[in-house]
């Protein structure tokens, strides 16, 4: 008798009724395993882990309701149709009926995923929230080689490339990029779109290796869904800034693989066309309404015309400046966007040949800068007088213009993360630049602040303090170390005073709370007093400040908290303890390293 014997006719219950093994699910749905896997990915149905695995630990389980959900999917029927179609083609080929096979192949049944996108993401915000994986995947496939063996087609890679560029152009245009981090794995970006923080990872400009471990069938199925999703998201985002969605790009620039720049141009052209339209159309609005379809055709030709107009002054530097200014027309931005927009304002960048272009072409316009590069279709040449920064990544630069600064690409990324223009001398050509810090680490929470982060913090404070930031003097001010020192001393003393008072307040408060706690626990006052006195001097002020809210919580909370909350809270405390220990270790190592260096 099997372990979980159930007499025939008796209903299943418990886990056996709630879950289904994959084999059973496939049999129930009457599809092939491949189709089943594809369907699961597209519908967002994933395996689960039941509490009791009634058919063994080595099987995959799905929830019965999920399978029922799949069973009602029209796509299932489509898959069956496609399978039958495949049989038909095979049969025709086997009978040497080439004509019929060709005819059948031309009429292959296809399906659309629009409905599934809507079903899985009922609102636009939902879609944005889940965009991380989508963007990473699309960006990754945009750089992959087309491999016949893995059925990675050229057209899909082109589509991915187009979608990723469209997304980047939108982010750049709306200045919603927030953080950039170059890791060994790739480049992490974080943008904020409609209040949602979206993080994605793009590969370095390297040849990607396809390993055996990866099942590309699965990856391509995910990609299929993500392509559809991103297209719809892009559509919506483009319409939100009044740009028509499938953008019409300059074929010349496209041929030069400068899609991103072509998109910027398209944005500029469309916004200009809109301005023209508004001027033209306001008096003749009723007329246009009568014309109907003719009017829309006129719009299109208008747009073309505007594009052509923009193409003419390619090499005049004013063209791109206008682009940046025009994008500032919408005044619905929050503070952060404004800050991001004005970071590289009035700066002109030029990328040297050896610099990896893709990310910089994306980032610099996103922070309000103007950028050009060495190569075809570039907006201005290296000899341009107005260039303020040239980005160079080589050991030495032989010919230098005195009017501009030569920096390594890391400077741009660090500036973006710090939101100030950092001094350029430490990023000069041929020098080893300071460490590239991760902007995703919250130094305060971590408790450990790297040296360079502290320096950046001081610079930021200095930049904020400068009420009248003179464009010329600003950078020098920051560079002057003595100035900073003085400012630092002043701010230190002020801060110390404030901290003193704050500390006293917090001490009193915490003591009061502790006493309350003791009372609750029933410890006599005199006994607790001794303990308190023992404790206080051990803790330094900073940690006291940190622990203050927690101790408060401990008093009010632990009694009031539900069991679950309390556990979570305790787990949090454990984590903090762990982090503290790690930090101590780090400090120790740092000291050791310093000692080694000095020795």
């Amino acid at each position: 008798m099997p372990k979980h014997y159930r007499p025939p006719g008796k209903k299943k219950e418990g886990n056996a009724a709630k879950y289904m093994t994959r084999t059973k699910a496939v049999k129930y749905l009457q599809v092939s395993l491949q189709d089943f896997r594809r369907l699961c990915v597209l519908k967002g149905v994933f395996p689960r882990e039941p509490k009791k695995k009634f058919e063994g630990n080595h099987k995959t389980y799905y929830h019965v309701k999920d399978i029922m959900f799949l069973a009602h999917e029209p796509l299932l029927e489509k898959f069956r149709e496609m399978r039958a179609h495949g049989h038909k083609v095979n049969k025709a080929l086997a009978k040497k009926n080439k004509e019929r096979a060709e005819r059948l192949k031309a009429a292959r049944p296809s399906y659309k995923l629009d409905r599934l996108v809507r079903e899985r993401y009922p609102s636009f915000i939902d879609a944005l929230r889940d965009l991380d994986d989508c963007l990473s995947m699309v960006h990754l496939f945009a750089t992959l080689p087309a491999v016949e063996r893995e059925r990675i087609e050229v057209s899909r890679i082109h589509n991915c490339r187009r979608l990723s560029h469209e997304w980047q152009a939108y982010i750049s245009r709306t200045h919603s990029l927030r953080k950039v981090f170059i890791a060994v794995k790739g480049i992490y970006y974080q943008a904020e779109v409609q209040g949602q923080k979206i993080t994605w990872l793009t590969p370095h400009a390297l040849q990607q290796v396809l390993t055996d471990e990866v099942d590309f069938n699965v990856m391509l199925t995910f990609l299929e869904f993500y392509e559809t999703l991103l297209a719809f998201v892009n559509f919506r985002l483009y319409h939100s800034i009044n740009v028509k969605y499938p953008p019409i790009l300059d074929p010349q620039l496209e041929a030069l693989a400068e899609d991103l720049y072509a998109l910027f141009r398209y944005f500029a052209a469309s916004s200009r066309a809109r301005v023209l339209e508004n001027q033209d159309l306001t008096p003749s609005l009723p007329e246009n309404a009568d014309l109907g379809s003719a009017g829309t055709e006129g719009d299109e030709s208008d747009l073309r015309l505007a594009q052509l107009q923009l193409q003419l002054p390619t090499n005049t530097p004013g063209a791109l400046m206008q682009l940046v200014e025009e994008s500032g027309v919408e005044d619905t931005d929050d503070d952060e966007t404004r800050e991001c927009k004005s970071l590289f304002k009035n700066l002109k960048f030029f990328l040297s040949r050896e610099v990896q272009r893709e990310s910089l072409l994306f980032i610099i316009p996103a922070f309000g800068g103007v950028v050009s590069w060495e190569g075809g279709g570039a907006p201005f040449k290296e000899t341009d007088e107005g260039i303020t920064h040239q980005i160079v990544d080589r050991p030495s630069q032989c010919h230098m213009f005195l009017s501009r600064e030569y920096v390594q690409p890391q400077w741009v990324f660090d500036c973006v993360n710090a939101r100030i223009l950092l001094p350029t001398d430490i990023y000069a050509v041929g020098r080893v630049p300071p460490p590239h810090l991760s902007p995703f680490v919250d130094n305060e929470a971590e408790g450990y602040v790297p040296e360079y982060a502290e320096k950046i913090k001081r610079l930021q404070a200095a930049a904020r303090k400068d009420l009248m930031p003179m464009p010329g003097l600003d950078v020098e001010d920051i560079e002057d170390p003595q100035n900073i020192l003085v400012a630092g001393v002043i701010s230190r003393t002020e801060a110390n005073e404030a901290a003193e008072t704050k500390r006293e307040m917090s001490m009193r408060e915490s003591r009061y709370h502790d006493e309350l706690k003791m009372e609750l626990q029933g410890i006599p006052y005199s006994a607790s007093r001794v303990d308190m006195n023992m404790q206080i001097p051990v803790e330094d002020t900073e940690s006291k400040e940190e622990t203050l809210p927690i101790s408060e919580l401990a008093v009010n909370g632990e009694i009031m908290m539900s069991n679950r909350r309390r556990k979570i809270y305790k787990a949090m405390m454990m984590g903090q303890e762990k982090k503290k220990n790690e930090n101590k270790l780090l400090e120790k190592r740092k000291k050791l390293a310093k000692a080694k260096k000095s020795a």
Binding site: D114, V184, H204, L206, V209, T296, D393, Q410, L586, A593
Partner: protein, 360 residues
């Protein structure tokens, strides 16, 4: 009707019985039928029965057409009735239909405005403002692991010294753990054992040894049972019996006394017991908490076991100390990002971890 010659005429009685009464029966039947139906038709005049059709003749063709127009019942049931809504196969489909209807309306409205969009085949999916119709499906997220996990600061292309050491140390720890596991784990069971072939003689000796042991045991058992039998046969005298009864009673009273004493003692040590129970409870709770925390940690680390294979995380991407150049151009970046994304899918429990595929 001929003569009924075949009937037997043997006895008088038989003769009487064989008189045919069919015609009489028939007549009676007919008359009753007529009475019920209202008279026989034979008596009626032909005028009342028939009439001459004086209307113009319907052409045969028209007749056929008319016949064709007629819809058979079986066919009519197959036709769609516009007033009857088809029964939806599930509630889900119903909601979808509801969702679709207003979308069409919106499209119609925007035709003049966004003709171009419709040409390209794109529609704003989320434009329709029928949010209240859409039942928000509460879907359990398969895992709490974020889709894009951000690497530690030490994995930067130009990390600060301490962060890099930290990241490097953790990477080394992972590798060393693997090595230690291999070294310290139990030895695998060897497939073959090297030893000499056992010859028949020694096999016999081994077997005989065993037999002898068995014999000895049997002997022992026999002696035991004999002794028992002997003791059982001894008779119990009345004196002995009385003594036994007294002894039993005494034992009983003693036990009771002891019990009472023990109870009183326990009552005395009640606070201690209470303390012990409290301690136990506390311990239990602590254990529970520890388990909950561990579970949460495990959920953060990877997926539950979803199939035959265990999930194995990809190694973290850290530069070696000598590889740090500070230059983006010379960076030895990760070129297996596809694997990383795939592992991320596995880690979040979206797909079942599999083995390495074989190349065909």
């Amino acid at each position: 009707m001929g003569k009924s010659a075949k009937t037997s005429r043997k006895g008088k009685k038989a003769w009487r019985a064989n008189i045919p009464t069919d015609d009489i029966d028939e007549y009676i039947e007919k008359s009753t039928k007529d009475a019920l139906t209202g008279g026989s038709l034979t008596t009626l005049p032909s005028d009342s029965l028939f009439y001459v059709d004086k209307s113009t003749d319907v052409p045969a063709k028209k007749k056929i057409e008319k016949h064709r127009e007629k819809v058979l019942h079986c066919e009519s049931t197959l036709q769609k009735n516009p007033f009857v809504v088809a029964v939806p196969s599930s509630i889900l489909n119903k909601s979808k239909k509801k969702r679709k209807v207003p979308k069409v309306v919106v499209e119609n409205k925007d035709v003049s405005k966004d003709e171009k969009d419709n040409v390209s085949g794109m529609v704003d999916l989320w434009e329709a403002k029928d949010q209240d119709n859409v039942k928000p499906t509460k879907k359990a997220k398969p895992s709490i692991i974020p889709a894009v996990e951000i690497e530690a600061p030490g994995c930067s292309f130009n990390p600060s010294f301490e962060a890099h050491q930290d990241a490097l140390a953790s990477a080394v720890a992972v590798e060393m753990q693997k090595i230690y596991k291999n070294e310290l784990g139990p030895q695998p069971v060897p497939l073959t054992v090297s030893s000499e072939v056992v010859d028949e003689e020694s096999l016999y000796i081994l077997g005989s040894d065993h037999e002898e042991d068995a014999m000895d045991e049997e002997n022992l058992e026999n002696s035991d049972t004999a002794a028992d039998r002997f003791s059982k046969t001894k008779r119990v005298t009345r004196v002995e019996l009385n003594r036994r009864i007294r002894r039993r009673e005494r034992q009983k009273t003693e036990a009771e006394a002891k019990k009472i004493e023990k109870l009183s003692k326990e009552i005395d040590s009640l606070p201690d017991i209470m303390e012990e129970i409290a301690k136990d409870d506390e311990e239990k709770q602590k254990k529970h908490l520890r388990r909950a925390v561990a579970k949460e940690e495990r959920r953060k680390l990877g997926p539950p076991r979803l199939g035959r294979n265990k999930f194995e995380p990809a190694p973290s991407q850290v530069l070696l100390s000598e590889e740090i150049t500070g230059s983006l151009r010379k960076l030895k970046g990760c070129c297996t990002l596809t694997r990383d994304r795939f592992k991320s899918l596995e880690k979040r429990g979206l797909i079942v971890p599999g083995t390495k595929r074989k190349r065909k």
